[in-house]
Amino acid sequence: MASQEIALIDERQPGTSFVERLHGLVITVDHKKLGLMYVGTALGFLLVAGLMALAIRMQLAVPNNTLLEPDVFNRFFTMHGTAMVFLVGMPIIAGLGNYLVPLMIGTRDMAFPRLNAFGYWMFLFGGLLLYFSYLGAPGLAGHGSAPDVGWFAYAPLTGRAFSRGHGTDYWILSLLLTSVGSTVSAINVLATVFALRCRGMTLMRMPLFVWLMVVTNFMILLALPALSASQVMLLIDRYLGGHFFDTQAGGSAVIWQHFFWIFGHPEVYILIIPAFACVSEIVPVFSRKPIFGYPVMVGATVMIGLISVSVWAHHMFSVGMTSVGNTFFAISTFLVAVPTGIKIFNWLGTMYGGKIRLELPMIFCLGFLFQFLIAGLTGVMLAVVPFNWQLTDSYFVVAHFHYTLVGGFLSGMFAGFYYWYPKTSGRLLDRRLGFWHFWLFFIGFHLTFDTMHFPGLLGMPRRVYTYDAGRGWETLNFITSLGALIQAAGVLCLVVNILRSWKKGKVAGNDPWDAWTLEWATTSPPPDYNFETLPVVRSRRPLWDLKHPEDPDWKYD
């Protein structure tokens, strides 16, 4: 049945009308189309949530600004955070995984194509539901509209007593939907990797990208239930008279924080590991060397995954845990630094002695490496509990996690876009516009997020809709806001580039980067069936073997 549908779309493709093409997308179960739909939709949400961030920065550019009302501001940062994590980060990962994993392991589709489509639609409607709250949640006497409880929605602010109207309900329900989407998509990726690898592709011959996707998707399965469960508990509190988090009736506010961060911390790694994945593919190709220490890289990632489920309370050092509790979570957090350090060194080792081609994908990877290094080090500072007591919930933390998510995750994704775009469209992204994107974004990023650490050190708490003059924050905030504008210009270059190059870009050919993994062995864009005959591999770099019969990898395998 599924294969019949694929064939049908294939026949109709050339010269069909817009409505038919749309229909094609709605009924598709093809992993490549779904992958692109995921990424495209995520980029749409990125623009919306990015505009919200811009509005937030405009409000904070000068002290005592009245551009945004307090409640409007509070909704903006809640929606910005929620959307960036669940409607941008998660679907980009799902999209990359969908598109690339089957190609990289040499198979024709995901293990469960229909489930795959289901996952996408859950995500899309979940996302739309979240934004629909602006129209649909006027609630009691005008209180409500979009959720305004912050993306981690601490109890008891989310209880009915403090969060009237339906904003919080929309937050819960829309995330439950997207979580269902993420869960099935994770199951799908894992099943695909474990069941559908082409002949010869043992686990230790998979591209690192695939390995890291496995780890990330395992973590999704591990972490998301904690969020979903606590959200259901919150719903029970709100509508069925439960008292899990209702402190007035003996419930616990702290238990919500534990639940949330049991999900929330792994979530950070769920997002950053796919960035590692992109970097681990791109750095070797553009250094012209295999990844340094492949088994160690795999081991380090698995370690990161394991350790990162035992560090959650480092988000809660100020809730008044015992000194023993604080010490435990400090130690486990420091331990994450070890495998993370190993990864950075291995990327360095890959570049060392190579011939580094400073093309766009690589340049974004280099940006990633510098930025992720700094983010890691500010992370170490945050793990020093007494220092954390000063830094947590201040702008320093905001700067730190934007460093990981924008400087790290997003840079990695940008690198991936430039690298795999030619595969998906058959055309290269424009090089000049790409460099404009890089430099604007790079400068804007550093203006904003380097600067943002300092108001935190000067005592500025996060999530304030305004501040008084005279505390040393004005200039710093102004620069921060300025950088946001420059970043926006950079993103605009990317969007224009993506749209324009789709039809007009330079034709890429099957293998524009002279790369080594299987996705480059098929046409760009790949046919619906991916490979005419399923490939057989003998090493980690099948295309290297093909191109260098005199010195193939499998000799050392």
Binding site: E69, T327, F334, G353, V384, P386, S394, Y465
Partner: protein
Amino acid sequence: MRPSLSLRPGILRALALLCACAAWLIIAGHVTQAFGNPSGTTNIFRPLSQPAQEVQELSLLVIAICTVIFLVVAGLLAYTIIRFRQRAGDEASEPPQIYGSNQIEMAWTVLPILIVFVLILVTSRSIANIQNREASPDALRATVIGHQWWWEIRYPKLGIVTANELHVPASDASGRRPTFLKLESADVAHSFWVPQLAGKTDLIPNRENLMWIEPTEIGTYLGNCAEYCGTQHARMLIRVVVQTPEEFERWVGEQQQAAAEEASAAEGRVVFFANSCVNCHTIRGTTAQGMFGPDLTHMMSRQTLASGAAPNTPAGLRAWVRDPQAVKVGCLMPNMQMTDEEVDKIVAYLQTLK
């Protein structure tokens, strides 16, 4: 191909560097400026009390370690990029294919482990130092209760209730005078953060948290609520007034007195008690026993109104009583819809509450 294009990134790179330097100069200049103030700043690197001082020492150590790591790794990275970048005309051959090295791998596993070990030691020692400090029986104790969006402050042993300004005695050569704070919340989570005195500790409903401070310099210290708590989270400022022991004693004496009853303000008193002000506010020694808003018994002794939303001046007070929503949008004191005349009278009365 490449040569013509590589010029452009070159220029851009230079521009970027220039911009970055300019930005850093501005930032650096600005930060050092803020280092100058004694008390009254919220700079975490200007601590004037334990445990903030201990935290600062530890922070500087950690920052130093991280800076060294950064310089080494970033240096290696920069060196690698410059040294091993592909040069024009060198595209034909591939470099030697190296797959890894167990010795090198070992080296860069062990090194981070050693650093982490040091960090664990200094961190756990400092946690224990700060968290496990026992209160001496005669130490001053206060309870801070977070409300949306103001602070209730109680001194149970002294029988004082006030708001938004915590008074404590300074320690000096004649003795250590730490203050132990019990933190609670009446509604949602808040966080007590006065950077010059200590790191933050949350105020969580249905839970008791403890922290202590031991300031050595007199002055007024500023801080914010640091846990998002709803609409006016931004205007939930806390002030800590550190006084000499004698001044502190005098302040305690004043606060312990009943509310003033000046004949000149009798009219305003009548208006106040005729309105629902009494349902939300307490004025000790009167029938006003509301608990929802700040205690007003000695409200004129405070520097600001509504947690720092307005200065406590006649004009500020008038604006507040006239329409609190115009001063602090969304705050939990409603506009009482009073005539100008009534407002004047009430303000006159409130001003006698010294």
